[in-house]
Symmetry: C2
Subunit: 134 residues, 2 copies
DNA sequence: ATGACTGCAAAGACTTTGCATCTTT
DNA sequence: AAAGATGCAAAGTCTTTGCAGTCAT
């Protein structure tokens, strides 16, 4: 039997903060961002709720960038660009083939494919300018 | 000026082990695998060399799966399937559009795109059988 | 000999967890 | 009141690093 979930001010705040940004934040960023409004917030609570949200499927992990896990409240199919310089994670609206590609892999290998990620790596425009100046 | 690189038995062994497997191992796996032949090998050396290889571009990180970074000596363009159950990382030969897609993102956003990863997530056939039995 | 490479163990960095306390229902 | 949620700090994991000794050139 599953454990019930109760309302919690902080949980709501964490999810809202995640929905209001497109920066694909880390747990630490959420903690720092919410701290002023919720002074008794603890990092552990942020982590616990992120884990819960992920299990519920309301958020998704974009992966670990430079040692920090990045989260995304946008669970619709889209891609990402990761800047190897400033570690920004930027949304790239649907460049991939969508569901068809998953079906193709599923049929060829006999795997149950639930999801796929397309991620680009390189240097963002801002960081490219910086490099040029040096 | 870059630092010179000298020959090292262990370095060679680490790279060989990585080239001989398609399991996308972790540092720990390489360490355990090479330990019998190189009894005085240390985990630190494995990590140091993996970092070196990655900088040299002779290997690539497939990302962090279940808290462990996974490495791949195959730097040619291909995709991966990650089993969320047993954490296996399995090669999926080229399903994506290749270089064109990178050019497209590069032009649209003004980013310098160096690489892209396409990763599928789900349950592998072996783990699906296990689940059925239960 | 010189500078690179390594073992070892300590230090780091991020995340998880136990327990007493506070909240929600 | 009962059970979930949180703060705090300790514990866990994976990875990095300093230092002294070893090896390649």
């Amino acid at each position: 039997m599953e454990r019930a979930t109760r309302y919690s001010r902080k949980r709501e705040a964490i999810l809202s903060a995640l929905k209001e940004t497109d920066s694909h934040p880390t747990a630490e960023w959420l903690y720092q961002t919410l701290k002023p409004e919720h002074q008794d917030l603890s990092l552990g609570t942020v982590y616990r709720n992120l884990t819960l949200f992920r299990e519920q499927g309301v958020i998704r992990s974009v992966g670990v960038v430079d040692g920090h896990e990045r989260f995304d409240a946008n669970t619709e199919n889209h891609s990402h660009f990761v800047c190897r310089d400033c570690h920004a994670v930027i949304d790239i609206p649907k460049v991939s083939a969508g569901g068809e590609i998953e079906r193709s892999v599923s049929e060829q290998y006999g795997f149950s494919v639930e999801h796929h990620d397309l991620t680009f790596y390189g240097t963002c425009s801002q960081c490219m300018q910086k490099e040029t100046k040096v």
